[in-house]
């Protein structure tokens, strides 16, 4: 019986770790949806670029040029990934979201970002080739044991990073002028405009923050993923599922759903086999859409007729 309990706790711990990784990616999607009502399909590739940026910063620059220890180089690489994500966010806003915003349609920005995604993936394929890269985090080697439960320092780092990101995001939204302005834009773009808030700038800022999160997510996911130019795509479908399960644009819902999906994945691997993860997650998604189409935390909106 205690063995079973140990197993349950162990898998839950693994699940929370995975969930935190997904939350980092899904939060960006939900943030963008909140202010812009758009989906960024290339978000997946921001994760991949973040992972590669981190890998090369750590191995080529951090240890070799700066002579940092492995752990220092990895922490530095997270900053690089953040920067890479932010830059990509700036670029996709300028190239796609800003020009298409005026037309107010759901389909075209979605397709344009699919185009960007195909472009980015194949650019990386040309640059880096199809063979998976080895990306070891020095923190993965350190195992921590509490009772009969094991976890790595890397998983602690991931949970801490995700928690920091969430706290920072909430603090930003609640306490800074920019955050308040962002929420105003999310609720009503026209009114926010009247209040003297420049919605264009704020939307750009949101996309940059969201993309930076994806970049850091990439640095943290790098050691977990089979790191090829297409690595992000495997995460993003789950991130989409999480965003929907949590309710599009709802940060709290996204966090809960992300952790839930992580835990479900851990148990699916344990009891059903890793091949069935996507199946389980998406069946859950469809069930969810039938039972609660507005997400875990329902925001009731009546259509204004």
């Amino acid at each position: 019986m205690t063995d079973l309990l140990t197993l349950l706790v162990q898998q839950s711990v693994n699940g929370v770790y995975l969930g935190c990784l997904y939350v980092m990616v899904a939060l960006g999607l939900t943030l963008i949806y909140g202010v812009l009502n758009q989906i960024n399909f290339a978000h997946a590739d921001f994760v991949t670029v973040g992972a590669f940026a981190a890998l090369f910063t750590a191995t080529r620059f951090g240890t070799k040029v700066l002579g940092l220890p492995d752990t220092g180089a990895y922490l530095l690489s997270m900053v690089a990934a953040l920067g890479a994500g932010a830059l990509l966010g700036l670029a996709i806003n300028a190239a796609v979201f800003a020009p298409l915003r005026e037309r107010g349609d759901e389909l075209r920005p979605l397709i344009a970002t699919i185009g960007v995604s195909v472009l980015l993936e194949n650019f990386q394929l040309w640059l880096l080739g199809p063979i998976p890269y080895q990306f070891d985090s020095p923190f993965s080697l350190e195992t921590i044991r509490i009772g009969r439960i094991f976890f790595t320092a890397q998983s602690v780092l991931v949970v801490v990073a995700a928690a920091l990101a969430i706290v920072a995001l909430y603090a930003f939204m609640k306490f800074t002028f920019l955050g308040k302005a962002l929420r105003a834009v999310a609720q009503d773009r026209e009114t926010a405009g009247l209040m003297g808030i420049n919605p264009n700038l704020l939307i750009a800022l949101t996309i940059v923050i969201a993309s930076a999160l994806a970049g850091v997510g990439g640095a943290l996911l790098g050691p977990v993923l089979v790191l090829t130019p297409f690595a992000g795509a495997t995460v993003i479908v789950k991130a989409f599922a999480i965003v929907i399960i949590g309710g599009f644009g709802n940060m709290q819902g996204t966090i809960i759903a992300g952790l839930l999906v992580g835990v479900i994945e851990a148990f699916t691997v344990q009891y059903l086999g890793s091949g069935l993860i996507d199946l389980v997650v998406f069946v859950l998604l469809l069930v969810m859409l039938v039972v609660r189409p507005t997400g875990l935390i329902a925001e009731r909106k009546e259509e204004n007729v």
Binding site: Y33, N37, I39, A95, V96, P99, L100, R103, E106, L107, R108, P109, L110, I111, A112, I114, G115, V116, S117, V118, L119, L120, E121, N122, F123, L125, W126, V237, F240, A241, V243, I244, F248, G275, L276, D278, L279, F282, V283, L285, L286, L289, V290, P293, E303, V305
Partner: protein, 303 residues
């Protein structure tokens, strides 16, 4: 003779001549692929272009058509045409299943739900090895007609018939109804349109047509693996519809032709090929929002 009949005759003549204009086996193969892509683009356009439903899961129905027909022929020794009929019906029914979600969901929610639908279908193909052979794949599948030219005539003929029938339908009150749903569902309901029913109709018919295209694919390639029905396939179909011009009849046909031949023409560029493809998709959306058809019309008007 009406202009429509003239265009139809020209289309038949061009289709008849094509295998002789592109005489190498390689290019004839591309022709077959192109005819299948046109059929797929037509099927998605019905849902996306005319009914306005963000469907990212069309590859699932293509897959169902391919797998059901192949398994019935290979494992149960059915006649190809009977198996195809069953496959089309199966795809259509699955389309109705997705419609059950489309009735309750709008916009991006439907987009992700349909994406999930395609992911689930793909995962079932991978994991249900007893029936689908999983990633190992099914080999040695024969086409319904032995020669590539014959296969082209068959698929192109079916595609032409489907085109004419959909065209008729879109000129009829049914077309008015679907377009009304696309433009404004609440408004359509205020005119007595049962949105749920007509969306189910569009999804079911679109899925059945994609399933029909799927019946010819395995025989043409000779093998069947789940990877042929990845999410990317849905995106490719969508690209064809958008690049050509969605919500028009001829647009998706042009889009399918361009996007089938473009990668072949770009083959010399090797790895740049798909990069150009992605860039082209983005640029078309940014600068030609109505696709090639609308750009052409604008050009004609400005002259």
């Amino acid at each position: 003779m009406s202009a429509r009949l003239v265009s139809l005759l020209i289309a038949i003549l061009v289709l008849a001549a094509l295998p002789w204009l592109l005489p190498t086996p390689y290019w004839r193969g591309i022709l077959v692929l192109c005819a299948m892509n046109v059929l797929l683009a037509l099927s998605l356009n019905l849902v996306l272009g005319y009914t306005g439903q963000l469907n990212l899961g069309q590859s699932a129905f293509f897959a169902i058509g391919a797998y059901v027909s192949t398994i019935l022929v290979k494992t149960y020794a059915w006649n190809f045409w009977l198996a195809s009929l069953a496959a089309v019906a199966a795809a259509g029914l699955l389309g109705l299943a997705l419609a059950a979600f489309a009735v309750r969901l709008r916009g991006h929610y439907l987009a992700i739900a349909s994406l999930g639908f395609a992911v689930i279908t793909y995962q079932v193909l991978v994991n249900w090895e007893k029936v689908t052979e999983g990633v190992r794949g099914i080999y040695g599948i024969l086409p319904p007609v032995a020669s590539t030219t014959g296969l082209f005539y068959l698929v192109a003929g079916i595609t032409l018939v489907v085109y004419v029938l959909i065209d008729n339908l879109m000129r009829s009150p049914v077309g008015d109804t679907l377009r009304a749903i696309r433009e404004d569902e609440v408004s359509a309901a205020s005119l007595g349109v049962n949105g749920a029913l007509w969306k189910a109709f569009a999804f079911g018919l679109g899925a059945a047509i994609a399933g029909l295209a799927g019946c010819f694919y395995p025989g043409f390639v000779g093998t069947l693996v789940p990877d042929a029905f990845n999410i990317i396939e849905s995106f490719t179909m969508m690209a064809m519809v958008i690049v050509g011009g969605m919500g028009t009849m001829i647009g998706p046909v042009i889009g399918a032709i361009v996007l089938t031949f473009l990668p072949e023409v770009l083959r010399d560029f090797g790895e740049f090929r798909l990069m150009i493809y992605g860039l082209a998709l983005t640029l078309v959306v940014l600068f030609m929002p109505g696709g090639i058809v609308q750009a052409w019309r604008t050009l004609l008007r400005s002259r």
